[in-house]
Assembly symmetry: C2
């Protein structure tokens, strides 16, 4: 079968399309999926340069996010059947291949109204956004929520989900022009950090410490400056450090106003938990009802995988990039 393989770790992100990969084995608790779409994430770039901490060893079959149709079930699989349309997350990668075997808990059945394209587009980003806001951040209608990198994939999902919860949404972007889409998604204020002192602007508009919930993927100085905006008992939820690790003064910042700080990677959430199931059902309902818009920017054919990776690496694309495998 065909599939993308990362042959070695280097800064040139060397990867290739292999055409003679063996069809994967199937364990008793696994399903075999014929992959239709793969979703690209920054984690895929991190796997190329060896900075992604979870999957181990090279050569590595690439891809963690996918949608497709089940073609075979292991003997212990009970809740899923051949022919089911599913989307999923593969902890051990391998999703950018024609066939993929994964544990049954790694996938969610798609309801009729959610297409396979949407499945591969929502699974990682929307699920992450949902858990950041709800499972961890417990967003409420009267919250002011601050979202950094609000113009990116997770940011746009966060915006829509927070507005759906009735919150006031304030965001920042690091690239001029990226303000537009979050505003279309209903954000109340979006500031370009290259032009504005965001703490100052937010304080002028909303008061000295208005933010109850901060969702951050930037880390470093941007996160550090943001503590000044937090209410007593406010909650900071972090899911990345694109600008670098936060300063060592994390504890000192929390003591000042009795804050809560969470660091979330969705791979740590139990996929069999109530919270996980609730998130999947709610997200698919929102997509079905047109209450959550997914921004699919490009769909590349498998043969053009290298263009897809480069598009993601350019950081100019804010919508989702998919690979079409079938």
């Amino acid at each position: 079968m065909q599939g993308i393989q990362i042959n070695k770790i280097d800064d040139n992100f060397y990867r290739s399309l292999e055409i003679n990969l063996p069809k994967p084995d199937l364990a008793d608790n696994e399903i075999l999926v014929q992959v239709h779409y793969g979703g690209l994430n920054y984690a895929d770039l991190m796997m190329c340069n060896g900075s992604y901490p979870h999957p181990k060893g090279y050569p590595l079959q690439a891809g963690i996010e996918f949608s497709g149709i089940i073609v075979k079930c292991g003997s212990e699989v009970q809740k899923l059947s051949v022919g089911d349309r599913v989307a999923g997350f593969s902890e051990n990668a391998g999703a950018f291949s024609e066939f993929l075997s994964v544990p049954q808990d790694s996938v969610t059945k798609l309801i009729e109204e959610v297409s396979l394209e949407d499945g591969a587009a929502y699974y990682v980003q929307t699920t992450t956004a949902f858990h950041l806001l709800n499972t961890i951040g417990k967003v409420q209608a009267n919250d002011i929520v601050l979202i950094h990198a609000i113009g990116g994939g997770v940011g746009l999902n966060l915006t829509q989900l927070a507005k759906h919860a009735g919150a006031t949404v304030v965001g920042t972007v690091g690239t001029s022009g990226k303000e537009k889409r979050p505003l279309e998604c209903g954000a109340d204020l979006v500031l370009d950090r290259t032009k504005h002192d965001f703490t100052n602007e937010i304080q002028q508009k909303f008061g000295k410490t208005p933010v109850r919930l901060l969702i951050d993927s930037t880390g470093a100085e941007i996160l550090n400056d943001s503590f000044d905006l937090m209410q007593n008992l406010g909650h900071v939820v972090s899911y990345g450090e694109a600008s670098g690790k936060p300063y060592d003064n994390l504890w000192s910042q929390l003591v000042l106003r009795s804050l809560t700080f969470s660091r979330l990677h969705i791979g740590h959430i139990n996929h069999q938990s109530e919270e996980w199931t609730h998130a999947q059902i709610t997200i698919q309902e929102l997509i079905k009802n047109g209450e959550l818009k997914l921004f699919i920017e490009h769909i590349f054919l498998l043969n053009d995988f290298d263009l897809a990776y480069h598009a993601l690496d350019s950081r100019k694309v804010s919508g989702k990039i998919l690979l079409k495998l079938k």
Copy 2:
């Protein structure tokens, strides 16, 4: 009127009983309380040596926790009346005096079944324990809760409230013999840290990462070692650093298993909030029904205030120390 005064900051904890203090003024939103009991807290020792961050300036009238009867109300006071029995927390101290004026939101009316002694004994410690566990930690029946300094005042309240919520309670003490009382309060396992490697013992009994909620007032190495026991998505709630500040690796510890860390000082909770009111009602009901036991160790007369402070400073007393002012 009579009252305790801290005249200057020094390591000898110099304080005196003043007999000619002026009766306090009363602002429109304040009540004047004839104080019956004062509750001693470590914060009172910290005020003597200048390490308590909140009240400002010396000489300082001492005392933050009290119970008593309202003898006068400011013109804007609506929810309280002369004659009401109340317990409270005075952000600006002054509670160990015959009369004290505080904003109306600083006190809670005591129900008939809760004595003035109990009022001064529960207000700071039980309210702190309640918010650590419920408002912040959201304790659940299937949680394993780890409590350090479980033999202290807040620890014994935490034990009873966590057992009341149905949780399994595991605790540690730093002084031999302090295991007894938390076990009487229903704790499932209490380890003396001077004799046991607590992480090892807890892992042997409950598995590698059993703890969902950790309540800590020790900081430093004890807190740092405890991270090894946490479940994915577990919650660490800190309310003090008796053994020193936590290490600078807080962020690194949280990233490993997607943990949440909160630092709580109850002075940061809005006393007009739903959470505050809910806590006060629930605690008084538990006391009334005999479901929460308060351990009052000593009641000293005002003239013996210095014995009271020294008893607290000895750290040998685990129950509450009260000062009787009337």
